[in-house]
């Protein structure tokens, strides 16, 4: 008895910690778990509140809120078709302009440029992501929109035979300018993800193509691009998600028109822009309509991001679950060197 009393207190072996000694462990474990749970609860709570706030409008207008083409605040008519249209059109313009440039620059940086230049060039492209969106807006308003107006006029009159693209009289702020700014803003993220995906192309594939007599470009076309296509598609979708949700830069150069524009260079509106622009003076059902616009925006970005993630997980070839791509997705391309 006495011998065992020196090694055992109560029924606990000497190797076990006392309950007091184990307390910090428990606190840490449950504290951190609670913190994680808190995030889930917050997101769900926000979503429920958002649905609650926008319920008024959906019960009044139904699906007309999403697809009807008239947003007239003074007559309390809230059909968000023009907003949805503007959001989708500007982000598609951004993709058409931004993705080819981003992917081409990623291919050049990874496969063609001298090794010494790789780091500096990546950093320069990534720096575009560090510029705040309000600065893009500032630049768009005072530099890009006025300087490009003559070119847009020329383009619209030269290509007047193409429906919707040409023909109209370009306005200072329009879908195209907003799309162009968005293209610049999504360029770094699409480029960074493309670079990462292209870097995972096995050297054997490339060497095999070269050994069979392919030129550099043929090697890129036959070995690099097919292998990295899903990842690049995912990166582009992720860029589209950013473009859809971008607010401040767009609201400054979109022109805030309440109906669907008749041509590419006419004023428009987007879901995010309408919220930023009208929230200050909104009351009653108008506020509810803006929350509903937020809900549509939220759901739209969720869908686009889910598709993006699906592509990226397919494109990572099962090797890098939460690797560098995850970090780039989260913190933007600036985290990648």
């Amino acid at each position: 008895m006495e011998a065992s009393a020196t090694t055992v207190t109560g029924d606990r072996s000497v190797l076990e910690r006392s309950p007091v000694g184990r307390l910090p462990d428990r606190v840490l474990k449950w504290g951190l778990s609670g913190l994680a749970a808190l995030i889930l609860i917050l997101i769900v709570y926000f979503f429920i509140r958002l649905v609650g706030q926008s319920g008024h409008v959906f019960s009044t207008y139904g699906l007309n809120f999403v697809f009807g083409n008239d947003w007239d605040v003074s007559h309390n008519i809230f059909h968000g078709g023009a907003l949805l249209f503007g959001t989708i059109v500007t982000s598609i313009i951004a993709l058409i302009i931004g993705v080819p440039v981003a992917v081409a620059s990623a291919v050049f940086i990874n496969e063609l440029c001298p090794r010494r230049m790789r780091g500096p060039l990546s950093i320069l492209v990534d720096l575009l992501a560090a510029v705040p969106s309000v600065v893009y807006g500032l630049w768009g308003v005072f530099v890009l929109a006025p300087k490009l107006l003559p070119a847009e006029k020329w383009f619209a009159s030269t290509f007047s035979f193409i429906p919707w693209i040409g023909g109209g009289i370009p306005q200072l702020y329009n879908y195209f300018i907003a799309g162009l700014i968005l293209a610049i803003m999504i360029l770094p993220i699409v480029s960074a993800i493309s670079r990462e995906v292209i870097a995972t192309v096995p050297a054997e594939h490339k060497e095999a193509a070269l050994a069979l007599g392919a030129t550099r470009w043929e090697m890129i076309r036959m070995a690099v691009l097919p292998y990295s296509r899903p990842g690049i598609t995912g990166g582009a979708m992720l860029g589209m998600g950013r473009a859809i949700g971008e607010t401040i830069a767009v609201v400054l150069v979109i022109g805030s028109a309440s109906k669907i524009g008749s041509h590419l260079f006419s004023q428009g509106y987007t879901l995010a822009a309408v919220i930023a622009n009208e929230f200050g003076e909104a009351t009653g059902i108008h506020t509810s309509a803006l929350f509903a616009a937020g809900l549509v925006l939220f759901v739209l970005t969720l869908i686009v991001n889910m598709i993006a993630r699906w592509f990226i997980s397919r494109g990572s070839h099962g090797t890098r679950g939460t690797g560098a791509t995850g970090m780039t997705i989260a913190s933007g391309p600036a985290s990648e060197t």
């Binding site: 951190l32 981003a102 720096l127 600065v135 400054l252 970090m327 989260a330």
Partner: protein, 292 residues
Amino acid sequence: MSATNAFPQISARRRRTDKVMRASLFAATMIALIPLILIIYYLIHKGLSAWTQSGFFTTDPTGSFFGSPGGIRSAILGSLEIVALATLISIPTGIGVALYLTEYGKQSWFANTVRYFVDVMTGVPSIMMGLFIYIVLVIGRVGGSGFAAWKGSVALWLLMLPIVIRSSEVVLLLVPSSLREAALALGAPRWRVVFRVVLPTAASGLVTGSLLAIARGMGETAPLLFTVSTAFTLTFSLNQQMNTMPFLIYTDITSPRAEIQTIAWGTALTLVVIVLILNLLARFIASRSRMA
């Protein structure tokens, strides 16, 4: 017979395609750099003239349409205050959640659910963070005020949190498990392993992620629109409306007066310089730790 026969020459057409495509890939890279160069050029060109105005950094904006537009002191200090508070909340909570994911949750269904929701959060547009806080904190006048600086910090917290969690998780996963096992085998309790082994080992990576999150939060306007609103005078009370750099730029752009537009450029230059310094600092720390 000769070497050229053993390796038949690449046809002229193929060689031409190769050259053209290589040149266009190079051209695309240059095109990608043009916006950056233009933006920096205009920022310096138009912003510096604002910087050299007397009192640009030492006086507050007057807000009056006539007379001197004033400086941007309250905007700089307001931005720093709001982002500092957001940083104070988002870094401990973000690293905490990342610790849960790497040290406790690992691949359990709950941890994967949290990961999924964090991914969802990264995709949520920043203006939505402002809307959420508006619904929850501003409408109910929580804390006795409608718009308030601390509510903007909470909105920025929502924005920065997923960035901190994701980047921290990546670096915490890089801590070799042999280090954790060695500490545990020596009899250290889990919490000691976390605080004395895991966190110090990952420190530089955690700092990098946090700096990037701060840089992101610094430049955001949308989450502040319906949470902080704005003010012209200098205030240190976090329960009041406050001036911030992004908001000042946003409102000054729409002013028809050239002097106020100049202020917008000067503020933008200030903001970009601060954000770039944070970014380069993060990069520097990341590259130095990789060498070690």
